[in-house]
């Protein structure tokens, strides 16, 4: 099966590679022979983004993106980073090859293969359909997008006018990294799924005049772990980070309505525990977000309502200890602590002095437990190459709430970026 798929992919690559180039037509200069972007970053973070009580961290990082235009219809893209994640010790230095893929285009066909970051979702900031890219929530970087990374995948897309159908094969599994770490009493063990080759996705999207929309389906492993209790072996409690299979049906849209930019996105996720029997495994759930943005007196204001519904919800309070504590922690980490959740996401931003200064405040508020995250951020471009970013993540709320549980990873940062 695997050999047959690989053979088919190789034949397709060869066919696209030899496809006629649009010799009689011109393409604007988006492909240059060699392009590279380098970003050197130095930052101070008051607290880490892991629940480990580390404070006053100095972070250095090198981010590099390289693109080689091989021909008019093919290119090679590589993107990676290297830096320390904590105090200067060899084991705190890490790197990540975020992308390394070859992309080919031939008429209506697009093929790309390699490690690539596939980002889905038209809502602002929160994307229930975005299940293909990997995210390291512990990475100390001001931009959420920089926490994302790719997985090895092959994408084949066919376009007819404004519509496109894309199919993805995702033979590599990489988990999201949550803000948790080993302690004196607890040890987390990442458990790799058994059949990573059997992951795939399809998406139909329409991008054109009037409105953009898409429908997507993902059948693969959940990048966010479920917790499991391992047999006691030594003084530490061993908790397994298991990744079970999920199926996600999603849809999104974006369109303009008078002076409002309307965005909506929703997904239903079927887990391996649709009846909610296993207290450690996520139940099937619905996750939707809808809102609009508009500019008022130079301020861009974005407001989105978020709704989550957990199927066959069962309160972990009825369980015996220590299972109850672990199930409660799992429910909080996976945002499955309540049957229904209603939240509000808001972002107010403004640029000043011809985009030299950018300011914004983003906030996510959950109504049930009054827990929230506030993220103010200021970016100032001293020159075309030198930029300073100052910001903060502040989690607040009661202990038995998703964001109250993350209070101790609240942090404030100052980063200098030199780009060339």
């Amino acid at each position: 099966m695997r050999a047959r798929m690989q053979f088919a992919l190789a034949v397709l690559c060869l066919a696209l590679w030899n496809a006629p180039v649009f010799a009689a037509e011109e393409t604007p200069g988006f492909i240059h022979d060699v392009e590279s972007s380098t970003s050197l970053r130095s930052a101070y973070w008051s607290d880490s983004r892991i629940q480990d009580d580390r404070r006053n961290l100095w972070i250095l990082g090198l981010w590099e993106r390289f693109q080689l235009g091989i021909s008019n219809n093919s290119k090679l893209v590589m993107d990676g980073r290297l830096g320390n994640r904590g105090p200067w010790q060899p084991d705190n230095v890490s790197g990540d090859l975020r992308e390394a893929f070859l992309a080919l285009t031939a008429g209506p066909w697009d093929l790309s293969a390699g490690r690539q970051m596939i980002v889905w979702g038209k809502a602002d900031g929160i994307n229930p359909t975005d299940n293909l890219a990997v995210r390291d929530f512990s990475l100390l970087t001001p931009e959420d997008a920089d926490q994302k990374s790719g997985v090895i995948s092959a994408k084949l897309a066919y376009t007819i006018e404004n519509c496109r159908i894309s199919a993805y094969w995702l033979p590599e599994f990489r988990p999201n990294k949550l803000p948790i770490s080993d302690t004196d009493t607890t040890c987390y063990i990442e458990a790799a799924p058994e059949h990573p080759l059997e992951q795939w996705a399809v998406r139909f999207d329409s991008l054109g005049e009037g409105a953009d929309w898409s429908i997507s389906y993902y059948n693969g492993y959940d990048k966010n772990p479920d917790f499991s209790l391992w047999p006691v072996n030594g003084p530490q409690l061993q908790i397994g980070l298991d990744h079970h299979r999920i199926r996600v049906l999603g849809a999104d849209t974006a369109f303009n309505l008078d002076r409002f930019g309307v965005r909506a996105e929703a997904a239903y996720t079927w887990t391996e525990d649709p009846q909610g029997i296993d207290p450690f495994m996520k139940n099937s759930f619905f996750y939707g977000i809808m809102g609009a943005d508009r500019t008022f007196a130079d301020f861009n204001v974005n407001a989105q309502v978020i709704f989550r519904y957990i199927d066959h919800f069962a309160d972990s309070g009825a369980l015996a200890e220590p299972i109850q504590s672990l199930a409660r922690q799992a429910a909080l980490s996976n945002n499955q602590f309540d049957e229904t959740q209603l939240g509000l996401f808001g972002r107010i931003g403004r640029t000043w002095w011809n985009d030299t200064l950018e300011t914004e405040v983003a906030m996510l508020y959950w109504f049930r437990h009054n827990d929230y995250l506030v993220r103010p951020k200021i970016k100032y471009a001293w020159t075309d190459t030198l930029k300073t970013i100052f910001g903060s993540d502040q989690y607040r709320g009661p202990e038995n709430s998703a964001y109250g549980n993350l209070k101790n990873i609240s942090t404030t940062y100052l980063e200098m970026q030199l780009g060339f």
């Binding site: 037509e25 011109e26 200069g29 972007s37 992309a103 980002v119 002095w353 190459t385 780009g419």
Partner: protein
């Protein structure tokens, strides 16, 4: 009888003389001048490279290099344009696709591709007053203004930069156009010979002078269709004293540009 014949002959001669005059010398209405100016900027398809210089009040300069492509929709005068930022590093790879929609009730479409997010984002197209990627030009200045959305009046005729010009006052046709564009009035200096604009003075919603746009270094880029393009564009914000100068280093009219370049899909595949 003889007198009548002479009168008739004189009228005929005068009429023949009048219709033989170049179009610019005929009496044109303000709307006709605005329309001819609108059409003068409609180049069938082009490829260009430009440098944007953003200069602050204290003289600090930021430079962006771009490549651009434009093409009119088939059978229409609606323009489609794609601008790709090549430098500096923090905006490199940013692409902006604008599609003009002149059909009644339809808004223009604007998408932006931000490489850091790896996403295409649809912008609110009615926000024509928003700055075009930090420059002193707004999205409206870049896309252009639809003739019938403004009420035009010829204020005067005068010599400007050595050219005979109409000075046209354009007022928004309604409050929505006014709010969306961010201008309560536009004054345009339009050449009588080829109807290209040389200068525009723009007034904010309170009626105060906001910006001056100067267009110079015009070159005939499509001789067959009598099309001219300004190779230097300068927008100065009078209130902030910030200015942007766009200089085209290359501009070529080309009929070989693929239509699929002007699709959001192209932005994704070009990432």
């Amino acid at each position: 009888m003889k007198f009548k014949l002479i009168t008739l002959f004189l009228f005929a001669a005068a009429y023949a003389f009048l219709i033989s005059l170049p179009a610019s010398a005929q009496t044109l209405t303000a709307r006709e001048i605005a329309e001819k100016n609108y059409l003068a900027g409609k180049i069938s398809a082009s490829i260009s490279e430009a440098t944007f210089r953003l200069i602050s009040a204290n003289g600090q300069e930021r430079i962006r290099k771009t490549s651009g492509t434009s093409k009119l929709k088939s059978g229409s005068l609606d323009n489609r344009s794609l601008v790709t930022f090549l430098t500096p590093a923090d905006v490199k790879g940013t692409m902006i696709l604008t599609i003009e929609n002149s059909e009644p009730g339809k808004n223009d479409d604007i998408w932006i591709y931000l490489p850091a997010l790896k996403k295409i984002r649809r912008l609110i197209s009615s926000n024509k007053k928003d700055s075009f990627v930090g420059t002193d030009f707004s999205y409206g200045d870049v896309i252009g203004y639809k003739v019938d959305e403004w009420k035009h009046t010829i204020v005067r005729e005068e010599l400007f930069a050595g050219n005979e010009c109409y000075v046209l006052e354009s007022l928004p046709a309604n409050d929505q156009i006014k709010d969306d564009s961010g201008y309560s009035k536009r004054l345009s200096w339009i050449r009588k010979d080829n109807f290209t604009a040389l200068k525009a003075e723009l007034f904010d919603l309170n009626g105060s002078p906001l910006k001056t746009i100067r267009l110079s270094n015009h070159q005939q880029v499509d001789a067959a269709n009598h099309k001219w393009a300004a190779f230097t564009l300068e927008a100065e914000n009078i209130q902030t004293m910030h200015k942007t100068i766009i200089e085209f280093s290359h501009y070529e009219v080309s009929q070989k540009i693929r239509d699929d370049v002007f699709t959001p899909r192209f932005l994704e595949s070009a990432r």
